[in-house]
């Protein structure tokens, strides 16, 4: 094992591909040399992957061919699991800053559930749409959220840049959920629509 300085705080990168479609290209990109190097340079100590139903082979292949502490692992402690039926909130919490940890990052497929989980936990998020789901509206979600500055739109051919950008996202810190003052002058949101329909009068 490469000796880590004792003082280095733990910093987690959590990767999720979701439960429905397999997304092995994201797993192999995350486990590629440029991405791991970028994580190391950004001060990460831990990498945890939710690799999905079909992702175990890719993950195991990396783990078996690059032993713990080898140079290929870039000093990262790398773990993985298939999926957690109870949701990934608990796993994601590892990437928030608490008890000796510094804030990390979530790398997520473009499923709205995972993205919202990460945003609500206030963790910088890199959203990587799955190109094999062609014509999928998930790309639009990633693009729109990125253009409004809530997430980084990550691409498979260059995750290293996205990791650097996510550090800027952390500094800018845009709170979620957005304040919808402009769109909804009444400020009552859906509750207002519901009350209108029920005929409740204040």
């Amino acid at each position: 094992m490469i000796p880590q300085s004792v003082s280095q705080p733990r910093k987690l990168c959590f990767v999720t591909v979701g439960a429905t479609a397999s997304f092995n290209s994201l797993i192999s990109t995350v486990l590629s040399r440029p991405t791991l190097k970028a994580l190391q340079e950004a001060g990460y100590t831990d990498l945890r992957l939710q690799f999905g139903r079909d992702g175990r082979a890719v993950f195991d292949d990396f783990i078996l061919s690059n032993e713990d502490g080898s140079e290929e692992r870039c000093g990262l402690s790398i773990t993985g699991f298939e999926y957690n039926r109870k949701g990934l909130g608990q796993e994601m919490r590892g990437a928030t800053a608490y008890s000796g940890r510094v804030g990390g990052v979530v790398v997520s497929h473009a499923g709205s559930g995972s993205i919202l989980d990460a945003l609500r936990l206030d963790i910088p998020t890199i959203v990587v749409p799955n190109p094999s789901l062609l014509g999928n509206h998930q790309v639009e979600l990633a693009e729109e959220l990125a253009s409004q500055g809530y997430v980084v739109h990550g691409k498979l051919d260059d995750l290293a840049t996205a990791i650097a950008e996510s550090e800027k996202l952390r500094e800018r810190h845009k709170a979620w959920p957005p304040v919808n003052s402009g769109a909804d002058p009444s400020g009552r949101g859906l509750a207002g629509v519901m009350e209108d329909e029920m005929g409740f009068v204040d």
Binding site: S112, L141, D184, G189, L190, V193, M198
Partner: protein, 192 residues
């Protein structure tokens, strides 16, 4: 759906709640249970802190909601040719739900006052059945079952199939991205 409800549902205004989920979607059933539990915990905490409202025993709180499972309206990627058979089964089950065939006949009146849905095929069945019950003037249905459709947060530039079908027939049609604000669609910002 539950993030949406968490932000918008006041349990003291909407005292009885029914959840309709598709067969095989245990995950949503579990989420509904958790959501109801969080409502109960919040009211118990408010009570303990000397606030008003809530204060229900857990048993009593469990009487306040019902989870219904109906057959799936359309399996994922099912061909449009065979969908009607499944959709019909789903619709029949939805009529039973709307008529209040549950195990709490004394507490629950027939026909809900308000229906809120998002995009799954099951929602289309629920809304269309509520419309037909009203259309045929079934006793007790009139003036009830106001409908609110909330398009998924994931739909940024185009409506979902359910959204396209239901756009014209819900009392209120709410979208979560400004680009979709067309016609009678309402945009109130992001709601989840």
């Amino acid at each position: 759906m539950f993030l949406l409800l968490k932000r918008s549902l006041n349990p003291s205004l909407y005292a009885l709640r029914s959840y309709v989920i598709s067969a095989g979607d245990e995950f949503s059933a579990q989420r509904a249970e958790e959501f109801e539990r969080s409502l109960w915990c919040a009211s118990a905490t408010a009570m303990a802190a000397g606030g008003v409202g809530g204060g229900m025993k857990e048993e009593e709180a469990k009487q306040r909601y019902e989870i219904y499972t109906v057959p799936r309206a359309r399996k994922i990627h099912q061909s449009l040719l065979t969908t009607p058979i499944n959709a019909l089964k789903c619709c029949i089950a939805c009529i039973h739900v709307l008529r209040g065939n549950n195990n709490k006949p004394l507490l629950y009146p027939q026909y809900p006052d308000l229906i809120i849905c998002n995009g799954p095929g099951t929602a289309v069945c629920v809304i269309l059945m509520s419309l037909s019950l009203k259309y045929f003037g079934i006793r007790g249905a009139k003036g009830k079952m106001r409908t609110i459709y909330v398009e998924s947060f994931a739909r940024v530039r185009t409506l979902s199939l359910s959204g396209k079908i239901l756009r014209g027939c819900c009392d209120r049609f709410v979208v979560q991205w400004e680009r979709l604000k067309r016609g009678r669609a309402e945009y109130l910002g992001i709601l989840v």
